[in-house]
């Protein structure tokens, strides 16, 4: 189905008021989440908090527009792959510390304080954790709400409310 058709489909998701507000808020949420992840070594925040904010953006998309659009942007298989690659990236950063002889050694140059590119491997580890948390929290939401709702509908034999 076409993308605009999915967005303007009145039978899926919530009212047009909610959809319009979510359309405006979505970009701000994603920028704020990315800011929290990328500036984790300079200001309060970090990979976990920023990842949960990004996942909340996907969840608000699911709630407002229905599961077809949100799962088209990130399917549960894609979320699993992103989750695994985030974990692998984090472990790789830890193992690369053996370049200097110790697990989790901060082997990159430290740079100037308060610069965006500074503090060695810490921003890279933040990005890895942010990817992992975004994917896994969205996967938990999909597993708990959409899978559970489908099972519930099968149990009560009601298939007219498709998200």
């Amino acid at each position: 189905m076409d993308k605009n058709e999915l967005i303007n489909d009145a039978t899926k998701g919530m009212t047009p008021i909610v959809k319009t507000v979510v359309r405006f808020a979505m970009g701000i949420i994603v920028i704020f989440g990315a800011y929290i992840v990328l500036y984790g070594h300079l200001t309060p925040g970090g990979g976990f908090a920023g990842g949960v904010i990004l996942a909340c953006g996907y969840i608000i998309l699911t709630l407002a527009f229905g599961k077809t659009l949100a799962l088209g942007k990130m399917s549960n298989t894609g979320a699993s792959i992103l989750d695994n690659s985030g974990a692998l990236l984090f472990i790789t950063i830890g193992l690369l510390g053996y370049v200097g002889g110790v697990f989790f050694l901060n082997f990159l140059p430290k740079g100037v304080r308060f610069d965006l590119v500074s503090a060695g491997t810490i921003p890279l580890a933040n990005i890895a954790i942010g990817l992992k948390v975004t994917a896994s929290v969205f996967a938990v939401f999909v597993a708990l709400s959409i899978f559970g709702r489908v099972m519930y509908q099968e149990r009560i034999g009601d298939d007219q409310t498709e998200e």
Binding site: G46, V52, S80, K110, A119, A125, N126, K132, V140
Partner: protein, 197 residues
């Protein structure tokens, strides 16, 4: 300052009591949210903006997921009273916990005066040794990176478990051999067996 913190703690205790005692599942979930948001304000007052941000965000997420999950199930009101044995045994264990906690609290450093044996070194040399100006991140991802790997492993395992348990159907088809070995009976066979009754 400290009085305000104590008021906040009392508010949180009231919220958790309401969450346990109320009969409606939706208002119980909202009371849990009250406890979480008060906790984030308490973290902010204690000077921990990192944890306050995480607490607010996770609380919003948990509220959304819990409301979504409670609305789909049909038991919005819990019927029936409370059994005597679990109530009495939990009272006894709570009393035991209070006695041991009293002895343990005597040994703790006073509120606001940490002993700072290891953390003083982190605070003094953290910025110079890691280059990160956020001291919490430098402890989490540099000094204690090994702990963070453990945390990531816990998250990963829980996601895998959720996907395996909540998936609609298993990936592997049930073969004839499995049915004989584990005694798996299909729904149609059960219906066929009970048709005559």
């Amino acid at each position: 300052m400290e009085i305000f913190l104590l008021l906040l703690l009392a508010f949180m205790i009231i919220g958790s009591l309401v969450a346990i005692e109320t009969r409606n599942l939706l208002s119980s979930v909202i009371s849990v949210g009250v406890v979480g948001f008060s906790l984030s304000i308490a973290f902010l007052m204690l000077g921990a903006p990192d944890i306050a941000i995480t607490q607010v965000v996770v609380e919003i997420l948990i509220l959304v997921i819990l409301i979504r999950a409670t609305i789909t199930t049909d038991n919005t009101a819990i019927e029936g009273g409370r059994d005597t044995f679990p109530f009495v045994s939990s009272l006894i264990f709570f009393g035991l916990f209070l006695i041991f906690a009293w002895f343990a609290i005597q040994e703790l450093p006073r509120f606001g005066e940490p002993s700072m044996r290891i953390s003083r070194r982190y605070l003094e040399t953290g910025a110079a040794r890691t280059g990160a100006t956020n001291i919490v991140t430098s402890v989490l991802l540099d000094f204690r990176g090994y702990d963070t790997i453990g945390e990531a492993t816990v998250l990963f395992t829980s996601i895998v478990g959720a996907f395996v348990i909540l998936r609609r159907r298993g990936r592997k088809q049930k073969s004839e051999e499995d049915r004989e070995k584990f005694g798996i009976i299909e729904e149609e066979e059960i219906k066929k067996t009970f048709e005559g009754f």
